[in-house]
């Protein structure tokens, strides 16, 4: 009766693969949108619009892959994932608002405060939350 377990594992492996492919596609399209206008096509409007559309489409694909990945998990896996996502969302709101207000209040950073800096907090937050959640139910 190992087949059903393999089916669960196969489902997770397949959704992981799709998620990795879509995330990679989104990253490449984001890099294209960030650097393309200046370095590749000299701000040609049509190509920039195309890059925006490509980025949005890749983003939609990545989101759908994320949803499918969540659906491929069993119910405990989904709980751990959703708990980690909730913590990450909370941290994003709290950290994002605080970061913006501190910089708005005139705090001097060695770098310019940008929205993209939040990703450096969100990634580790989600990873650590998943780790703690997984260990909790071991």
């Amino acid at each position: 009766m190992k087949q059903a377990e393999q089916t669960l594992n196969q489902r997770i492996n397949q959704s992981n693969k799709h998620l990795a492919i879509w995330t990679g596609t989104w990253l490449v399209s984001t890099a294209l949108l960030a650097f393309g206008p200046k370095l590749i096509w000299d701000f040609a409007t049509a190509l920039t619009i195309l890059a925006i559309l490509l980025n949005l489409a890749a983003g939609a694909g990545m989101t759908m892959a994320n949803i499918r990945h969540l659906q491929s998990l069993d119910e405990l896996g989904r709980k751990v994932f959703l708990d980690a996502a909730a913590i990450t969302l909370g941290v994003m709101v709290v950290f994002g608002v605080c970061y913006e207000l501190v910089s708005f209040a005139g705090a001097q950073f060695a770098f310019e405060a940008r929205i993209s800096h939040i990703y450096f907090v969100l990634g580790p937050t989600f990873f650590i939350s998943m780790l703690i959640g997984t260990r909790r139910y071991k």
């Binding site: 009766m1 059903a4 069993d74 119910e75 139910y137 071991k138």
Partner: protein
């Protein structure tokens, strides 16, 4: 939620992996249910009851 899952499994000489395969969940999920760390959903509880050919109430108790 306390339950008799471990006893029922042992009676049939199944490992956690065996039971997980039959229920199409991970071994970690079976372990978490047995240790009462995680309460299964109603569909999974029904699946467990059907597998052991008994009622949900005779497996799970508050």
């Amino acid at each position: 939620m306390r339950n008799r899952l471990k006893v029922l499994r042992a009676e049939r000489d199944w490992t956690q992996a065996d039971l997980a395969a039959k229920l199409d969940v991970s071994r970690q999920t079976v372990n978490a249910i047995e240790k009462a760390k995680f309460d299964p959903s109603l569909p999974l509880a029904f699946k467990i009851a059907r597998l052991f050919n008994t009622s949900i109430e005779s497996i799970f108790e508050e």
